[in-house]
Symmetry: C2
Subunit: 244 residues, 2 copies
Amino acid sequence: MTGFKSQDEFYEAGDRVYLPHLSVDCVIFGFHENSLKVLLLKWKNGPWCLPGGFIKHKESLDQSANRTLKERTGLTEIFLKQFHAFGEPDRENGKRAKGSWIGKRFITVGYYALVEYSKVFPEPDLLSSECKWFDVNAVPDLIYDHNQIMNKALETLRLSLNDHPVGYNLLPEKFTMPQLQKLYETILGETLDRRNFQKQMIALDVLIRLNERKTGGAHKAPYLYRFDKRKYDKAMKQGLRLSF
Amino acid sequence: MTGFKSQDEFYEAGDRVYLPHLSVDCVIFGFHENSLKVLLLKWKNGPWCLPGGFIKHKESLDQSANRTLKERTGLTEIFLKQFHAFGEPDRENGKRAKGSWIGKRFITVGYYALVEYSKVFPEPDLLSSECKWFDVNAVPDLIYDHNQIMNKALETLRLSLNDHPVGYNLLPEKFTMPQLQKLYETILGETLDRRNFQKQMIALDVLIRLNERKTGGAHKAPYLYRFDKRKYDKAMKQGLRLSF
């Protein structure tokens, strides 16, 4: 609603600034100490929703998603990845203001990101009363098809573990295999076999085992690892191809 | 252009039938005997392009992609998968009819499919002079950003080999490991190591080795395989998770 004096003016003339029929929605997953959360906004006196917005006439989809996320939650420098466009003709159930450009059908392009949530500090915008992390297993009823959008993003995030390494920026610089396993288990929402996990992770060839063990506590202290950043970046770019 | 008497009428009033600013484009890959091709249309007296079209006011994105593909190429019952929305503000380079709804900016949603191309019989529509398969390595300059859309689809198809099995409907019911390897090599555009390929394919656990060998020719005839359809379908649905 940037640049409009009131909600009425936005309803009346928003399409001078924004393309009709098109929006973006962001699914921001937050990881911290074995829990996976998603960032939601609450409309003032209204339902919870994903942070979303509209596309300016001369703006790319990616720019629009980044600007929207910043305006609605204050978050910047988040690596957003486009994952799916949602275009059922009745996806808003006619719940938006009739008559206005905003009451018409919208196709929304979904973006997602995974961040270390203790490192970002979301703030609600003027339209919203709250901006809050929810456990992915305890998400309330969201507006329109936003639950479906969130679930599709979660599915995409889980499948992405096959394609790309995960963990850089989410784990400490040096970490143990059990910590990495916990990260995968948290994203997948299931328990994994320890030996098999370790074998597969080492086969990905993006880890360096350090000549250090984690100190304190355990009888047999686990080794510390760090990512080989060059190999990690290469795998991010090329994908973790089945190693033919 | 269905339902319009002329191109002029379509330019003038197309937005009564179609949403403004939105289109779909289909990247149809065809596999046959170790070659990978892509289906292109040629505008009458114009450039080559992907088969694409517009979204009716009460139509879902998926319906729109399927209808468009049928209207433009005659192909039906193709499993189209949405892969990316393209939304750079200058992606058409202002090449479309100015003044008309169709001269405005369009965001296009890309779909792709992989078919056995000897089994489908594309036909150009009234707007096009030709509808033809091109080798993916010999695609001409296409309209707008259609080369970029095709390349992104190819990248998605290649990455999808990590997530999903491939081959059912593309290979004969019974096939040899070298035939399956050729399929992967053709899609990936590179040569693979024979032993490693076989090991990885067997590890996917979607193949049944038959008590038959391919007859004729070779000194040591290779075993025949078929897909375990139940496991194949399950892997299509759940993805080929790194086997944790």
